[in-house]
């Protein structure tokens, strides 16, 4: 059975409009008509049509080219066929330059128009099929709402499955927005604690005393305002998992308390004397490098080793760029439902912008960018222009400030080391990125003693 594609016929002449519509209806299409450009634009605003037949000459108001340009603003990839009674090279060039997919001179042979419509519909069917396949692919690359096809992430999914049912403490490290909490949830919900609670605590959000009470609970009268006994997050997570986000920000006292919980599996409520035993799996996360914090002396080494039983490092989005189209389309699909706005896809241009951007805020920033673009877009496809705001956020626009007291040689060394890390030691790729030849790169690696 043919899919009911919809076509809009725009012509000021009723006979022309209605006879073409009738002819197309016989072919099984659902056909709408508009007698003027403004009416056509209003109809296009309400829905996108598979094909727009637009007459070039419409007296008064918008002509065919203006109508086409307005429709293009709404639907960047609309298939528009300009109809004219007079074939001139100038009008044909103008129509094609302004984005008409085809230009036909009436009257035309029925087989010509039939071939033309079939060709466009064939492409539309392929696009529709492509969207369905992409959705299927997106589900294939999804693991507990974490979307990736990057080899490192796929290895990580396998690791999560292996460790999910263990009680070992997990430390997740990665930049802000890389999805540390999603990984923690994936571990919890993949294991045999899935039916028990998953309790998340943001350690950075609370002052020391409040955090202590939040984690361990308090007895009535333990401090001003403690009007009743209250269970802490550790107790609430009994049998399940507690996720301690931004653990690097907690005070030395709390570090000690946590160490005790991890060693003894027990604690005291604030102001309490009864020892409370819990069976809770601890998953901690930090955006700062805890090993460095240990070396600086701001984080206890014994707590670090207790937490770091299983270490997971989440790569930043710029190191797994192949996930950007996959993630962008995943957010697009989800947000279409949430925002109640039908947006089907992103253009190649839009994807290029997303792939070129550095994403300092990682996956969270990408999600926010897609949402912002969807809120302001007026078409069913997100274009390069919808992501124009990203250009203003580029680091080079803000101006790059080198760290203080760094020599030029040190800057060069760090840039080369970072590039090699990003290319995973691929000399050819790193040399191309840095804009130098391979022999120069080898010289520098030797000079600065950079590990590969």
């Amino acid at each position: 059975m043919k899919m009911p594609w919809e076509i809009l016929v725009v012509d000021d002449e009723e006979v022309m409009r209605e006879s073409l519509a009738a002819w197309l209806r016989e072919d099984g299409f659902v056909v709408d008509t508009a007698a003027a450009g403004a009416e056509a634009v209003a109809k296009a605003r309400a829905k996108d049509y598979a094909i727009y037949f637009v007459d070039l000459k419409m007296p008064g108001g918008m002509d065919g080219i203006e109508t086409m340009m307005e429709i293009r603003k709404l639907h960047a990839e609309a298939a528009i066929i300009i109809i004219t009674a007079y074939a001139t090279v100038d009008t044909a060039i103008t129509a094609m330059k302004e984005g008409a997919q085809e230009y036909i001179v009436k009257p035309c042979n029925p087989s010509e128009i039939s071939l033309l419509v079939n060709r466009i519909i064939k492409v539309k069917n392929l696009q529709r099929e492509n969207i369905i396949l992409r959705k299927k692919l997106s589900r294939h690359y999804s693991f507990h709402d974490i979307i990736s096809k990057h080899p490192k992430m796929l290895d990580l999914f396998a690791l999560i499955r292996e460790i999910a049912s263990l009680r070992s403490t997990v430390l997740i490290q990665g930049e802000s927005g890389t999805g540390k909490e999603l990984i923690a949830r994936a571990i919890h919900y993949s294991g045999d604690r899935a039916e028990r609670p998953f309790i998340g605590v943001s350690c950075a959000a609370l002052a020391e005393t409040l955090l202590e009470s939040e984690l361990f609970g308090h007895e009535k009268g333990a401090f001003t305002g403690a009007v009743a006994q209250r269970k802490g997050k550790f107790e609430l997570a009994e049998g399940g998992t507690i996720f301690l986000d931004e653990i690097g920000d907690i005070s030395p006292k709390l570090q000690m308390d946590l160490l005790r919980v991890l060693q003894e599996r027990s604690f005291y409520r604030v102001g309490g004397s009864e020892e409370i035993h819990v069976d809770v799996r601890v998953i901690a996360a930090s955006h700062v490098d805890l090993q460095e914090a240990v070396q600086r002396g701001t984080f206890r080494d014994d707590l670090f080793y207790r937490l770091n039983v299983i270490n997971i490092h989440l790569p930043p989005l710029r190191e797994r760029r192949e996930d950007i189209p996959l993630l962008a389309r995943h957010f697009l699909e989800r947000l279409s439902h949430e925002l109640g706005k039908e947006v089907d896809d992103l253009t190649e241009g839009a994807l290029r912008v997303l792939l070129d951007y550095e994403w300092p805020g990682n996956v969270r920033e990408l999600e926010n960018a897609v949402e912002r673009a969807m809120v302001t877009c007026r078409a069913r496809v997100l274009t390069e222009e919808d992501f124009a705001f990203l250009n203003y956020n580029r680091p080079e626009r803000r101006g790059w400030v080198p760290p203080a007291n760094m020599s030029l040689e040190e800057v060069e060394k760090q840039v080369i080391a970072a590039t090699l890390q990003r290319t995973q030691g691929n000399i050819k790729e790193a040399a191309a990125t840095l804009g130098i030849d391979r022999s120069t790169l080898y010289d520098r690696i030797k000079k600065y003693n950079i590990p590969r």
């Binding site: 043919k2 006879s19 009738a22 209806r25 109809i83 029925p110």
Partner: protein, 191 residues
Amino acid sequence: MKTVAVVPVGAVAAEVLAGIELCLGRHFGLETQRLAPLGEPEFAWEPARQQYSVIAIMRELLRFCPPHAVRLLALTEKDLFIPMLSFVFGQAQLNGTLAIVSLARLRQEFYHLPANPPLLLARACKETVHEMGHTFGLTHCLEPKCPMSLSTTIQQVDDKGENFCANCTIVLRESLQLLRTREVLRTEEQP
């Protein structure tokens, strides 16, 4: 009584009319009633194109549909057009009452070949079945042998058959069933 009124627009050969009436009985199980021929449709003549506007003729024909007829089929020797296309073999109202078939481009003489009456009748039957099919809600069929497949050249008309494919037969049967039900209800309502 379910009847298709058949009306010639201008002069149409009697043997073609008779053949098409038989064809309507074969494929739709409907009786036919021949109406008096309509005069030459000069009102539809378009000098710039040297053709007749099918839209103008159809507008005129709507006034001629007898109240008891479920469909009106018009046949003409005139070459027909719609503004967008250089010609049409015929035209119909989708799910409507009116269908028209032009014999002009079904004749071998149009292609500077000797006349071939049996071929003309065969082509006319296929196009009649096609246009009448539209009035029963059938749209173009992807099966090339089905008379509901779109023909934009005479070769395509010759390549297709006169009998509906399995899918179109089902849709047509349902449509005819609906017509019969309506007929029964209409008869029962009458005192």
